[in-house]
């Protein structure tokens, strides 16, 4: 060992006079982006001070909370029948809305993706739609639709449907841009039309990722449906808002608990569906992974659609190797036998398949599984539509009411409020978002790192952290905010902490995934030099994950700005409070003015985030 360390040193002496390495050239854009990053960091710290999060006072008010919970007494639940009906209604509404968004997103995504768009003008138009849909909060849309439609599920469905197009079409377009162009070229080379190229070459490739996107968005929409209840969209959220408004805190908290459980269950269901669909069962031993795995296994047994994805993988590997051994032109029948034996299905009666016998697709496991999935999906969709009891005729009659409502929303004005009050409120919202993002970032780096397979000191720690993240993600921010308002009192504190806590669920997961995705080579190289676990993390994992970290953090800031505008609706500070006031006082001109203000801010942050992500890519 000592000899080895000796040698480089002598070499070093020999080649000592090395010319200074050329200075790395940094583009002005990167410098500007770096400076912006620092400025944002400082702004966040300032913001954090301005939202005056005061642990001492929070501890003080903890006694408040105790008194409050004492007064609430036991958490009450509504009668079971009503609860089930409300749950079904909420789920159905959210699913219908998400589906509507998915359908609307397909053309937008095709026009927006660089490889399928007919031209730059179409691209720009599609992107504009995407950005606009994202920037207008679903709550605002719901406010408008509640005015237009009679009470029912339509306002909620349309609000969710239109707003979600923003995110879904963006992710759909990303998926299209990431496809392997080969199969599409193959269809083109075979003489396929543009539409055929899309359905045969693009669609099969993007479908799993599209479904995953829709499921993911469905989770988000379910959490968001709570706040929709505050502006008059039917479902659990609305009942909860009624309960709180009538100071029936026990019942209100009961609804909150139900919603929380519902969100966590949906999250687990959708993540297991995604895992099965993408063919990657979680292999970890964490509690979350175990739940998912057990769930998928049980479902498989119930439908007799047996194979866990690993089993399929193993069987097909065996099939391939068996076939390779028997050679192509040779006895294919033997290899097929081997393959079927390996995958555990009974061997076909006729060993030598002919074109005639093969015309009928055998009911093998894959077919049973896909058919079952398709049937379940269809059943869910149909059930959702039935539950929603959509008043289709209103979609036609509504148009006559549009001009009258539109007139009320125009022109925008701040009405009885001072301009400066509004700008301050907006500033407060931005401060909440910045402060929350900073808190989230710090917490997420710790939790996210510990939840990454390649960083966590043990499987137990990783599993625990992953479970923590799922749990946090399951809590709708609004419910967090409501509970925190109880603890800290009305104001920016509650909003900031709610966003910060809720954000950890998302950012922590994104960071954990990014850390797990870094190339393991450098990590192994460092470990091989005898570096400690922490050194490996600091020297290999973190540097490789930095770009993802910056990107995700800006995504977080982006989301937080939107969310912060809405939390005011439940009294957590910022411009949202005025938005709700204006809407309830029927000052629609003011609603328009505030929405425009939010729009400008959101677009500015979005632009900034896009620029940063591009520069630091």
């Amino acid at each position: 060992m000592s000899i080895v360390t000796e040698r480089p040193r002598t070499t070093e002496v020999v080649v000592a006079p090395v010319a200074a390495p050329p200075r790395r050239r940094v583009s002005p854009e990167r410098v500007a982006a770096g400076l912006t990053l620092v400025a944002l960091l400082i702004a966040s710290v300032v913001a954090l001070r301005s939202v005056d999060i005061d642990p001492a006072r929070m501890l003080q008010s903890w006694s408040n909370a105790e008194r409050f919970f004492g007064r609430v007494g036991a958490i009450e639940f509504p009668p079971l029948g009503e609860l089930l009906q409300l749950t079904a209604l909420t789920l159905g509404l959210v699913i219908c809305g998400t589906l509507l968004a998915a359908v609307l997103s397909v053309p937008v995504a095709v026009l927006a993706a660089s490889n399928t768009s007919p031209g730059p003008v179409w691209r720009a138009a599609a992107r504009f739609v995407t950005v606009l849909a994202r920037a207008v909060p679903d709550v605002v849309l719901a406010m408008v639709f509640v005015l237009l439609f009679s009470l029912g599920t339509l306002p909620g469905i349309l609000a969710i449907g239109l707003h979600s197009v923003g995110m879904i079409s963006k992710l759909f377009a990303d998926a299209i841009e990431q496809i392997d162009e080969g199969p599409r070229t193959a269809v083109r080379a075979a003489g396929g039309t543009r539409l055929q190229q899309f359905t045969a070459g693009v669609l099969p490739q993007v479908l799993p990722s599209w479904v995953a996107t829709v499921l993911h968005r469905n989770d988000i929409n379910l959490r968001g449906s709570v706040i929709l209840g505050y502006v008059g969209v039917v479902g659990l959220g609305m009942e909860m808002s009624f309960a709180f408004k009538s100071l029936d805190y026990g019942l209100g908290l009961g609804y909150a608990v139900v919603i929380f459980v519902l969100c966590v269950v949906m999250e687990i269901v959708s993540s297991s569906v995604r895992a099965v669909m993408l063919g990657t069962a979680p292999t970890g031993r964490g509690l979350g992974d175990r739940i998912v795995r057990r769930a998928t296994r049980r479902r498989g047994a119930a439908t007799s659609a047996a194979p866990a994805p690993e089993a399929v993988g193993r069987a097909s590997t065996a099939a391939t190797s068996a076939d390779d051994a028997t050679r192509a032109s040779g006895t294919a029948a033997t290899s097929a036998d081997d393959a079927t034996r390996a995958s555990g299905t009974p061997a076909p009666e006729t060993a030598a398949a002919t074109v005639a016998t093969m015309l009928r697709r055998p009911w093998d496991r894959a077919r049973v599984r896909t058919t079952t999935w398709a049937a379940v999906a269809a059943a869910v969709v149909v059930a959702s539509i039935v539950v929603c009891d959509i008043a289709w005729s209103e979609l036609v009659t509504v148009w006559s009411g549009v001009p009258a409502v539109a007139v009320q929303f125009w022109p925008p004005s701040f009405g009885s409020y001072e301009m400066s009050t509004m700008v301050d409120a907006m500033g407060e919202t931005v401060a909440i978002a910045l402060a929350a993002t900073l808190l989230t970032l710090v917490a997420s780096i710790v939790i996210g790192s510990l939840a990454a397979r390649n960083v966590a000191p043990s499987r137990g720690v990783r599993g625990g952290m992953r479970l923590l993240l799922v749990g946090i993600r399951g809590v709708p921010e609004v419910i967090l905010a409501i509970v925190l308002i109880v603890v800290t009192g009305l104001g920016t504190q509650a909003g900031t902490l709610a966003l910060a806590l809720g954000g950890v669920g998302l950012l922590g997961k994104l960071l954990a995934d990014s850390f797990e995705e870094v190339s393991s080579g450098p990590e192994r190289a460092l470990a091989a030099t005898g570096a400690t676990r922490l050194q490996v993390y600091a020297g290999a994992t973190l540097p490789q994950g930095t770009r993802a970290l910056i990107g995700h953090t800006f995504y977080m800031l982006d989301t937080n700005i939107r969310a912060a505008t809405l939390l005011g609706i439940v009294g957590a500070g910022g411009v949202g409070y005025y938005l709700l006031n204006a809407s309830q006082g029927s000052n629609y001109g003011t609603v328009t003015a505030i929405v425009l203000m939010i729009l400008v801010t959101v677009l500015a942050v979005e632009g900034l985030a896009m620029w940063m992500r591009r520069v630091f890519r």
Binding site: A186, T199, A328
Partner: protein, 318 residues
């Protein structure tokens, strides 16, 4: 070559929807593919530089050249996937450069294309992948096995049987080995009922054994169906054993066009050596084509020279 080829070809061409001008003549010299002075530039780089090539019906032509010599680009011109900056492409009696829309798709459907990376949709079944070869004969989009007619499915299964993968029809394409996937791709190309088969490095991603299988299959099918084959390769050995004719490409120019009969590997290497204008090009050929005794000896000298030259200026600076 199989003496029956021409008659088979003639029947095949006659039954095809679009009859080419010369398809009824049973004479051996009908030109199927003609490229005249094709130049193709992508921005500042010139992929093809006035390349010309004529291929007659039933011929198996191998394009030989280094990566970047323009083989792929040339093949893509035959199928109308690229438009030349300059020059004329005539395939099956039609001027490809003038075709658009339906006429272009029709031409493409008569020209099968086999890719280096197979280009199957991994998540679809083998059968559905094969069926996509028939898209040009149907109207509108197709999604799912059952959206294709029963007749089409039967034909696709027959094509799969031809390549020895009937049993695999309902497996996902990505569960197959590389060699099997390429055979599925061949079945897909056959589904087009092509007259010309283009293969762009069909075995470059395969191990030697699968390579031989796939090349044998292409050759066999070409003979059976009277197909005209243009196949790009970079291995001289493979080219010599499978081709009727070898066409060498360099920097987008045709530098060699000779029947394979009686041609030895050394001769091919020599031709490459003679046209190599600079040392590094020569070395690149060496690397890519494998060292033969003849060329290997020659390559050593310039390498040393080049090494010396590289060091000299450094020393001068110090």
């Amino acid at each position: 070559m199989n003496p029956h080829d021409d008659t088979i070809t003639a029947t095949r061409a006659a039954t095809a929807t679009t009859t080419t001008t010369a398809s009824t003549t049973t004479g051996p010299a009908e030109t199927v593919v003609r490229l005249e002075g094709i130049t193709k530039r992508f921005g500042a780089t010139t992929a093809l530089d006035g390349a010309s090539l004529t291929v007659r019906r039933g011929e198996v032509v191998v394009l030989l050249g280094l990566s970047g010599s323009g083989k792929s680009t040339l093949l893509r011109h035959v199928d109308g996937l690229e438009r030349p900056t300059d020059g004329r492409v005539t395939v099956l009696g039609r001027e490809v450069t003038a075709l658009t829309g339906r006429a272009l798709r029709e031409l493409r459907s008569e020209v099968g294309f086999i890719f280096q990376q197979f280009e199957l949709v991994p998540s679809l079944t083998v059968l559905e992948n094969v069926l996509t070869g028939s898209l040009a004969t149907v109207r509108g989009p197709r999604l799912g096995l059952w959206s294709y007619g029963r007749a089409a499915r039967a034909e696709a299964l027959a094509r799969l049987e031809r390549v020895g993968l009937l049993e695999r029809a309902y497996q996902r394409a990505d569960t197959l080995s590389g060699g099997q996937q390429q055979r599925v791709a061949i079945a897909r190309a056959l589904m087009q009922r092509p007259q010309v088969l283009l293969a762009d490095e069909p075995v470059a991603s395969l191990d030697p054994e699968s390579s031989d299988q796939v090349m044998a299959l292409i050759r066999e099918i070409a003979a059976d169906e009277g197909l005209t084959v243009i196949c790009s390769l970079h291995q001289v050995d493979l080219a010599l054993s499978w081709a009727d004719r070898i066409v060498g490409l360099r920097h987008g120019r045709v530098v060699l066009d000779t029947p394979t009969e009686g041609l030895s590997k050394a001769q091919v290497m020599e031709i490459y050596g003679r046209v190599a204008t600079s040392t590094d090009q020569f070395e690149a050929i060496e690397l890519e084509l494998g060292t033969s005794g003849l060329a290997g000896g020659a390559a050593n000298v310039p390498e040393d020279l080049a090494g010396g030259a590289a060091h000299a200026p450094d020393g001068a600076v110090r």
